[in-house]
Symmetry: C2
Subunit: 309 residues, 2 copies
């Protein structure tokens, strides 16, 4: 593949370059309804979703792709993917232009400008999700990205961010999702009051991840394993299986997990809305878990219980 | 509490200030055998370990503490802790001096200069550990810190970093441990060849966390739960319990987990040294887990199996 010289964008001060750079700010993203995905992995995932959406006659995901000639030579498969993506503009740019567009020092030769999705909570809940991760006022973009990636790995059906949370489309958050931002529906800016009623209306148990919770995650997992082994006819004494009527949440039931703000945890209203306050046990000297770590343990516990039930 | 003016260090270009600032580099730390712990949480944990060590007539942990007068007024309990710590120098400094010493923009009013511990692998293994986390050429300080913090939360007995890993005493790594760096023994710079033999000699099963592993972590957890329920006399059919002789590692056995480099994972030698290559299941579309997330899931699985056995 070769590119003639006039095709190459080389002016880092061009208006279009500045337009892309403005997507690093929340206001810039809101104004244009676009966000930035930097680097080969994110762009690959964006284009894959874009094709899938278009094939299902849905809305496009990628607005345009910018890459260096050098990158396109090295990664012909990604160049091809970008070229054939209907409605997407692939532009060749110099390293300098890409650096001016990107939030990172080096976007590794490629970036995509993507449409902010317009997913609503109603759409997500209409899909009858079994596992939802809710970030309640999580502030750090790295933590938000980690939670989203963990939710993806655990096979969650959706991620919700309440009002007052970090913008998950901030470039640092997008990077830390390692492509997961294109893997599952995300709803942002939801007022908590509306959310808890909607989750419950959709038949989801609401679990609060809370270091001071009175229910131990391991106890929930043990009860779930005991029910599973009993159900598998392995002869486990049914007496050993906790009574669901006892008010304990069943880990294998459709659930939404609430994860709180880094400094304050979940607030009173958020805790009060939960069916159960669940603590991840601390076996060592650590005073607490990072919210991303706690979310990983909680979401995997639910995923295991649900998938193996 | 009040401080007379001559006590306050106010020259950010003083030799002592520069000496502390040099601890941000690996060479600076190696030369003086010291490292930096920034912020109230880290300093509190450092001083707590310091007192515990001195009471057991062990080696001191903290060499000196620097804090602003303002911080000491606001946190009298930490001021007292620092004052009574035998052999530790508490110096009052201006914000400007602290900023010049610290790696962070704002060390939140306090930092401690601490002695690099001289823990050896032999000492750690002589303590008959049940759960050890090994970082094999992990490069990112944030990841190393997250793994150490997860190891602490899961009650691991020690953390080992092989030759070629990031320096865990780098200020960014120390920060991301949230104090856990003072909670459990850490051995750094261990050549992998020596390590695997030593782990095995200490009776530890060696588990490789490997996305391409042929053993599913959930299968190991299920087998462990089945053994536990059978052992608890709940009547589980012993036939349902996997045969330990079948070559499958028992999750409740004393174990060392190997976690690999972010980009390449575990290398051939590291994988070959393991008794078992264990994959964390991916239930969603995510291609892989961040090494910190994978380590959390693996270490918690072992901790659960061991503690509830």
């Amino acid at each position: 593949m070769s590119f003639s010289v006039p095709d190459v964008m080389s002016n880092p001060r061009a208006e279009r370059v500045r337009d892309v750079a403005r997507l690093a700010t929340r206001a810039g993203r809101a104004k244009r309804g676009l966000f930035l995905a930097e680097g080969p992995q994110a762009v690959r995932e964006a284009l894959a979703l874009h094709r899938e959406r278009l094939a299902a006659s849905g809305a496009p995901v990628v607005e345009s792709v910018y890459a260096t000639a050098d990158f396109l030579e090295r990664s012909p498969e990604l160049a091809e993917l970008a070229e054939v993506a209907a409605g997407t503009r692939l532009r060749v740019a110099t390293e300098e232009v890409l650096a001016a567009m990107a939030d990172t020092v080096s976007p590794q030769g490629i970036l995509a400008v993507c449409h902010l999705p317009a997913t609503t909570l109603e759409e997500v809940l209409a899909g009858r999700p079994r596992l939802v991760a809710v970030m309640c006022r999580v502030q750090d973009p790295g933590n938000a990205g980690t939670i989203l990636r963990a939710a993806d790995a655990a096979g969650a059906d959706a991620v919700v961010l309440t009002e007052g949370s970090v913008d998950i489309y901030n470039p640092k958050a997008v990077r830390s999702t390692a492509g997961s931002i294109f893997h599952l529906p995300i709803v942002s800016g939801v007022p908590f009051g509306d959310l808890s009623a909607a989750l419950r209306g959709a038949g989801l148990a609401v679990l609060a991840a809370d270091g001071y919770g009175d229910t131990d995650l391991d106890a929930l997992q043990d009860a779930s394993a005991a029910r599973r082994l009993a159900g598998a006819g392995s002869g486990t004494d049914p007496q050993a299986v906790p009574d669901p009527a006892a008010g304990v949440v069943l880990l294998e039931a459709p659930s939404a997990w609430l994860f709180g703000n880094e400094a304050q945890g979940l607030d009173r209203e958020e805790l009060a809305a939960a069916d159960c306050r669940v603590a991840v046990p601390l076996y060592g000297v650590a005073e607490s878990l990072n919210v991303g770590t706690a979310a990983t343990v909680c979401l995997y516990a639910s995923a295991r219980a649900q998938r193996r039930a």
